[in-house]
Symmetry: C2
Subunit: 246 residues, 2 copies
């Protein structure tokens, strides 16, 4: 048996997320279909984690096992020849069986893109969220530091169903300028709960609008109460930037 690791980029706009769902167009579904055709057997892909409908990935990581002999680089090129233009394989390589795309993850980085404007901006509208021009971005950046560290993120999860452990470690969180007028909130952690990044960013927006002081983020974390945090921001501005294994 051989284990192959894939690094995959996709534009989430026309996908119902990563995970396979009947009757829906998903990234996993599209990739597994082409892999089956090329490898010649049913392939099951395991990703670092699912991404929701509309969320994009600069470099998602997944693995699969196969009994067939495959040349990873040829497979990559053949896949890219067959895949639609909104998904591409950046890398394919053989890995040891101890590598697991989901369970070996050490760090994940998400990027949430936004711009500050009274009006919708044509060049940013597709992949970034607009926040009003009275928002103070430097206050939002100040608030980022309160998310860093090991915390119970119960206040920042959409639904607790099925989960019992809400403790995650955030290694870094900051706001960066991508280009004139376009910003990104970047957050790196050992893992993220359902909708966590979008709810954290919704809370930062409240800080930007001066409805919450930066230091109040500490209290919101401590209350473990979803209602204290901001709203879940739209999916189209969220990108899984990278997944690290060492």
């Amino acid at each position: 048996m051989e284990r192959i690791k894939l690094v995959v980029q996709y534009n989430g706009k026309d996908f119902s997320g990563w995970q396979l769902q009947p009757e829906k167009r998903t990234v996993q579904g599209v990739l597994e279909e082409k892999l089956k055709f090329l490898v010649g057997e049913e392939i099951r892909l395991y990703a670092s984690g699912r991404t929701d409908a509309g969320v994009s990935a600069m470099a998602q990581v997944a693995h699969f096992d196969t009994e067939k002999k495959v040349n990873p680089n040829s497979l990559k090129n053949s896949l890219n020849g067959l895949l639609p233009s909104d998904v591409a394989v950046l890398l394919a390589e053989k890995v040891d069986e101890s590598f697991d795309a989901r369970f070996s993850v050490k760090k994940k980085t998400y990027q949430y893109r936004f711009y500050v404007s009274r009006h919708t901006l044509p060049l940013f509208v597709e992949n970034a969220t607009r926040i009003n021009d009275y928002a103070d971005v430097s206050l939002m950046n100040d608030a980022c530091k309160y998310f860093i560290g090991k915390h119970d993120f119960s206040s920042f999860v959409a639904s607790k169903s099925g989960k019992t452990d809400f403790v995650r470690t955030i290694f870094d969180a900051k706001i960066i300028t991508l280009e004139n007028g376009l910003y990104a909130f970047e957050i790196t952690g050992d893992g993220f709960l359902y909708n966590m990044v979008r709810i954290i960013f919704g809370t930062l927006v409240q800080v930007g609008y001066k409805k919450i002081k930066p230091e109040q983020v500490k209290d919101i974390i401590e209350t473990k109460c979803r209602q204290k945090a901001g709203k879940t921001m739209p999916a189209n501005a969220l990108i899984l930037k990278c997944v690290e294994y060492v």
Copy 2:
């Protein structure tokens, strides 16, 4: 009479360029229609210059004259309420009659976006051009300096019809990194000929592919022969970044 200056952003994808054309959807056409409705008289817009079909603008500048009394800021907000999501007014202000959006231009900056990859990349495909992964971007950057200065750009113009003066001054030309894997060729000059930026970039691509040495750009300029330069690159990756008047 009052003269109003507008700064306009648009995504060129679904426009047949800036300039009014019968039966075509153009930026000028869409703006003049909404201005007529709001100001209450026929409005003629004069831009810093036309942009071709598919070309976007971060900040195009235009002016119009009106006999009516208008409050520029209210006009801006009303326009943005009426305009489709692919065009927006960033600024509207009263200017002196000596200001002319076209003839007062001192500098224009264009950005041509590209990525270097063997395959189409889903997150860059819409607004950037792919060039093959054997391209040497540092050679392309080396070649940029030969465009700087006052030159006859006859080798870099699509069609000479109607024009007799092909001399333009380029103040700056360079390749910058926008984000991981995404680059932009940025060029600032006192004006640009028809398709000039797209042909210059096509020539830089030949340098990247080692079909032309960087220093040969000098010769290509001197020959004044369109056939010596590279091909015209696609419009969707070109953005008019800014127009300067001082």
